[in-house]
């Protein structure tokens, strides 16, 4: 688990969520930058996941939970932003913006749980 990267993911993702919620309240459909923001969050999550997988391969072990749970959270964290993007693309209304906001709120929760499972 890379600490600074996790912090960066939290900050970026929550800022994106705030922006998406503003767009939602302004009745705006999700703009290209919102989609790009969620892709960027996905990129950070992927780096984090690769780092964890490398440590697992190098003999590292989760301290606060079992391996299966960790893998479950890894998969969820990786799949969540693309799922949000696909659904938001199908919904070019204000609700698409809310969708991106929802995805951007859930990602930090997953990263937080990943950190807890890894670090104990």
């Amino acid at each position: 688990m890379i600490g600074p990267l996790a912090v960066a993911t939290h900050v970026l993702s929550l800022a994106l969520a705030a922006w998406a919620f503003v767009e939602f309240f302004r009745q705006r459909e999700p703009s290209r930058p919102l989609f790009a923001g969620l892709w960027l969050v996905e990129a950070l999550v992927l780096v984090q996941v690769v780092a964890l997988v490398v440590r697992l391969a190098g003999g590292g072990e989760p301290h606060g939970g079992d391996l299966v749970t960790l893998i479950g959270y890894l998969l969820t964290a990786v799949l969540l932003p693309p799922a949000g993007i696909v659904l938001a693309r199908m919904e070019p209304t204000r609700w698409g913006s809310l969708l991106i906001g929802a995805a951007a709120v859930i990602v930090p929760v997953l990263i937080l749980r990943l950190g807890q499972i890894w670090n104990g």
Partner: protein
């Protein structure tokens, strides 16, 4: 955006558009996380708390059914969604109360333990929102949400 699908047998507003799409997403996340949790619990330590872990699996199943039913917007799936979301509400209230009364039966949190506290009480709020959405889309006249804003 222009290609509005025909309401196939649906009685009211499509369940799966607008806010409904957000609801499907959130239900999907819960279906996934509840399934993963139940899978881990049953696969690794089922004998520790068979009741709680069976309820975990039941919760996962209910979330999956609710997600699929909300995502398809047919008359049948609407009925299924009423049942699934209603069951979800009963489940979170029953398991939430049971876990507070008899904590020993629930040593490891399920999605519904302590009214979904481990999940920020979202499991408690979600069925109310789901039932509200089902009720709201039931009406025949379009509920002017996005259209009214443009006018």
């Amino acid at each position: 955006m222009a290609d509005t699908p025909k309401p196939t047998g649906s009685t009211g507003k499509p369940l799966n558009r607008g806010f409904g799409r957000v609801l499907v997403f959130v239900y999907g996340v819960f279906a996934l996380s509840a399934s993963a949790r139940a899978g881990v619990q049953i696969g690794t330590k089922f004998s520790e708390a068979p009741l709680a872990y069976s309820l975990s699996a039941l919760a996962a199943l209910v979330y999956i059914v609710a997600t699929v039913a909300l995502a398809r917007s047919s008359a049948t799936s609407r009925r299924v969604a009423w049942f699934a979301v209603g069951f979800e509400l009963l489940g979170v209230l029953a398991v939430g109360t049971a876990s507070l009364v008899d904590g020993k039966a629930f040593p490891d949190a399920t999605v519904w333990s302590d009214y979904g506290q481990g999940y920020g009480y979202v499991p408690l709020i979600l069925p109310f929102i789901g039932l509200f959405w089902l009720w709201r889309t039931k009406r025949h006249e379009p509920v002017a949400e996005t259209t009214a804003a443009k006018g």
